[in-house]
């Protein structure tokens, strides 16, 4: 979970940072998308490096999901008979929604691929004109709402995920002065706010 998680965190952070080019206008954003496909050329064919990165990403996603599924099954078997009453004491909302949050993010990614990467789910998809695709895509209010909900789920997932990562990899911190919570919150906050800003910018006409 932790190792594949690191790869996925790397992706969402880079992806958010790359998308900031939306604020530099169509030319910059589209050039960036073209550059992603030109990486590695002429040594690699067009989109060659991109597909290598995609392969890594797919492996990380599959590992992450398979581990999460196995972990969930093990833990369900560990308590075959539940309690009539069990209090939740300090477990965070983020930790308790991790599993369903993961499912929401997966469904979102599938939709998102069809929407902005391959375009089947987009009303007016122009290959190569990423700027147009984002602006037209997000001007449909419910599409933007969907993105915002999914990115809030992602924020919670990242918050518990990053903190857990330290714990799993053995980076300890004393109770009370747990700086790992701060790092997790900052990371989740930056990624979430960045991602939320895109649909908001389009809906408010800041970008368009």
């Amino acid at each position: 979970m932790a190792v594949s998680g690191i790869a996925l965190f790397g992706f969402v952070l880079t992806h958010m940072l790359g998308n900031l080019k939306l604020y530099q206008g169509a030319e910059k954003l589209n050039a960036y998308a073209e550059w992603l496909r030109e990486m590695g050329s002429p040594a690699l064919p067009h989109s060659g490096a991109l597909w290598l990165l995609r392969a890594g990403l797919i492996v990380a996603v599959v590992v992450h999901i398979v581990c999460a599924y196995q972990l969930t099954r093990i833990n369900q078997k560990a308590r075959p008979v539940g309690y009539k009453r069990r209090a939740t004491i300090q477990a965070t909302y983020a930790s308790r929604t991790l599993r369903w949050g993961g499912v929401i993010i997966l469904l979102f990614v599938l939709y998102h691929l069809g929407h902005l990467t391959f375009g089947q789910l987009h009303p007016d998809f122009v290959a190569g004109d990423v700027y147009n695709n984002v602006v037209v895509g997000f001007s449909v209010w419910w599409v933007s709402a969907l993105y915002m909900v999914a990115n809030l789920a992602l924020g919670l997932h990242l918050y518990h995920g990053v903190w857990s990562l330290f714990q799993t990899l053995g980076v300890a911190a004393p109770r009370g002065g747990d700086w790992r919570r701060g790092i997790a919150a900052a990371f989740a906050f930056v990624v979430t706010v960045g991602n939320l800003s895109f649909p908001i910018a389009v809906l408010t006409g800041l970008v368009g």
């Binding site: 972990l71 093990i74 833990n75 078997k77 560990a78 308590r79 075959p80 008979v81 539940g82 309690y83 009539k84 009453r85 069990r86 209090a87 939740t88 004491i89 300090q90 477990a91 965070t92 930790s95 308790r96 991790l98 518990h160 903190w163 857990s164 330290f166 714990q167 799993t168 990899l169 053995g170 980076v171 300890a172 911190a173 004393p174 109770r175």
Partner: protein, 254 residues
């Protein structure tokens, strides 16, 4: 004070069980177990089967008492085993639900008594030091840094009651195992078998229990206040030991 108790009754292992409702008059000065003693006296006098629950020292050090009280292992008072919980923490007229620890690894034997031998198996897998310690050495013969000594003592406070497993939504035994692993790993005497200990104890833990997803519920119900900081320590020890075992040079493999 008059209380309504809803207690899990189960005649024996693998039998069906259900909640039974009782009313009991208790004094706020009684401990929780004394209140159950009063209930059992009435049941016995009436010719009924008394409620089976585990207890031994009744002073918070043996780890026998193990009750899920209103959804919280050892009840509402933090840092307190059931035997040290007093009825003044409840109010007249309260309804109290009492359940056994629930875990595949802790089968119910009768009523509120569970079999916790899977904890013993984790200890048997490596929670010991196999060196001949001889007679008591002079104090300070083996220097131990103050911080290590303090941390080792914090970990050694674990009384193995199982509240961590009981409260964990995953039924994981990480807090117990981490306390036992860290207690020895922090002291000079524990170094010889350090790698083998953590590898074997974790393997045994994983065989019988669920797996940690860092909810952190265990540390709040721990009657000894053991911190999940020890789980991170155990994970670090486990990673290092796995790497060394992988490279064929485990510490203390002899």
């Amino acid at each position: 004070m008059r209380l309504e108790l809803r207690i899990w009754r189960q005649p024996r292992r693998d039998a069906d069980g259900d909640f039974a409702t009782y009313h009991v008059d208790a004094s706020p000065d009684m401990s929780f177990l004394e209140m159950l003693d009063v209930l059992n006296e009435t049941l016995t006098e009436a010719g009924d089967d008394p409620v089976a629950f585990e207890h031994d020292c009744r002073e918070g050090i043996c780890g026998s008492c193990s009750l899920m009280i209103n959804g919280r292992a050892h009840g509402p008072e933090p840092g307190t085993a059931t035997c040290q919980l007093h009825m003044r923490k409840f109010r007249d007229g309260d309804v109290i639900r009492i359940e056994p620890w629930r875990s595949a690894a802790f089968p119910v034997l009768k009523d509120l008594v569970v079999d916790r031998s899977d904890f013993d198996k984790i200890i048997q897998a490596g929670g010991y030091i196999s060196i001949n310690t001889g007679s008591a050495p002079d104090a300070n013969l083996i220097p131990v840094p103050k911080r290590s000594a303090d941390l080792a003592m914090d970990a050694a406070e674990c009384i193995g009651c199982g509240a961590c497993v009981a409260q964990c939504p995953n039924g994981a035994a990480q807090l117990f195992t981490a306390a036992k692993v860290s207690h020895l790993a922090l002291l000079p005497q524990g170094q010889a078998e350090r790698d083998q200990r953590v590898l074997r104890m974790v393997a045994e833990m994983e065989r019988a229990f669920g797996s940690c997803t860092n909810y952190g519920e265990c540390e709040v119900v721990c009657p000894k206040g053991i911190s999940i900081e020890f789980i991170a320590r155990m994970n670090r020890d486990y990673l290092k030991a796995s790497l060394r075992a992988g490279s064929g040079r485990p510490k203390g493999s002899g």
